[in-house]
């Protein structure tokens, strides 16, 4: 379960591991062992600030760049919420639940195969309408979604305002307005996550062979 490429490249993980003893082993985004506490995942379209948010939440740095397709693998990090260790997963971008390219599939497969206490859907405030189409799909899948409307600083500069209350009412899930790169709203997201994890029973870990 700690190696999500398994779902796409059958057997690749085995070979990866067996080569680990070699001095030239590949050590990109090695996922630590099985998490024990609840897990949350950051998902969303490419280039909306998932990795910046991941860094803000966990202190773990993953590559951040200004173009779609920077992150191609999942990375696991840890944060504490109400004295509870929570594991956070950064994912490659995906446009919809039906993947276009190989790296998109990683995020979808992860959502399908692992239980999450919360799924943070990060979206770009400037393109709210286009991105909500993915929120809709996550809700259809009955996943525990929290919507994080990111890049509010840029939206403001572009002269846009967003009515959070109305969004909450329409979607029926928690919404946080934020600008991860400026650390706006990150605390509020933490609180929302804490509430969510407190109100749902700890997810039952699926038995995975």
């Amino acid at each position: 379960m700690d190696c999500h490429q398994c779902h796409q490249n059958n057997g690749s993980c085995g070979s990866k591991r067996s080569l680990r003893w070699l001095p030239f082993g590949e050590n990109f985004n090695r996922l630590p062992i099985e998490p024990s506490g609840p897990q949350i995942a950051l998902v969303g379209m490419p280039n909306v600030g998932k990795s910046v948010l991941f860094h803000a939440l966990t202190g773990t740095y993953v590559t951040v760049s200004n173009y779609p397709g920077t992150t191609v693998e999942v990375t696991r990090g840890a944060m504490t919420l109400d004295d509870r260790a929570v594991s956070v997963i950064d994912t490659p971008g995906m446009y919809s639940l039906l993947p276009i390219s190989e790296e998109e599939r990683v995020a979808r497969d992860l959502l399908m195969s692992e239980p999450f206490g919360a799924i943070v859907h990060v979206l770009d405030a400037k393109n709210l309408g286009r991105m909500l189409a993915l929120t809709v799909q996550l809700l259809e899948a009955e996943l525990p979604v929290i919507v994080a409307v990111n890049m509010m600083d840029e939206a403001q500069r572009w002269g846009l305002t967003i009515d959070r209350e109305a969004l909450i009412e329409k979607l029926g899930v928690p919404v946080v307005l934020m600008a991860a790169a400026r650390n706006w709203g990150v605390d509020q997201l933490r609180e929302t996550l804490a509430d969510r994890l407190a109100s749902t029973p700890a997810p039952v870990l699926a038995a995975v062979g």
């Binding site: 919809s96 276009i100 400037k126 189409a133 572009w158």
Partner: protein, 79 residues
């Protein structure tokens, strides 16, 4: 109704129809918000097409632009 590739002006047009049965193509267009009922404008044609859909901007090649059909006026969306 005209293929977007034949449109000379840079004004926004309404997307009326996507002329393709290719699922991969449809998925890409969907990802960018290029769907009937939305507006699209051409910003540039060479070396690649640059289009804007609302506040989204994207680059596409000719084959892709050729399957986007647009109208000047908004169509009733009962197509």
């Amino acid at each position: 109704m005209n293929a977007l590739s034949t449109i000379r002006s840079s004004d926004p047009h309404w997307i009326a129809h996507l002329e393709t049965q290719d699922d991969a193509m449809l998925r890409k267009l969907t990802a960018l918000g290029i769907l009937p009922g939305n507006q699209i404008a051409i910003e540039q044609r060479f070396p690649s097409y640059i289009v804007s859909i609302g506040r989204t901007r994207a680059a596409l090649d000719r084959e892709t632009v050729q399957c986007i059909f647009v109208t000047r006026e908004q169509h009733p969306t009962t197509a």
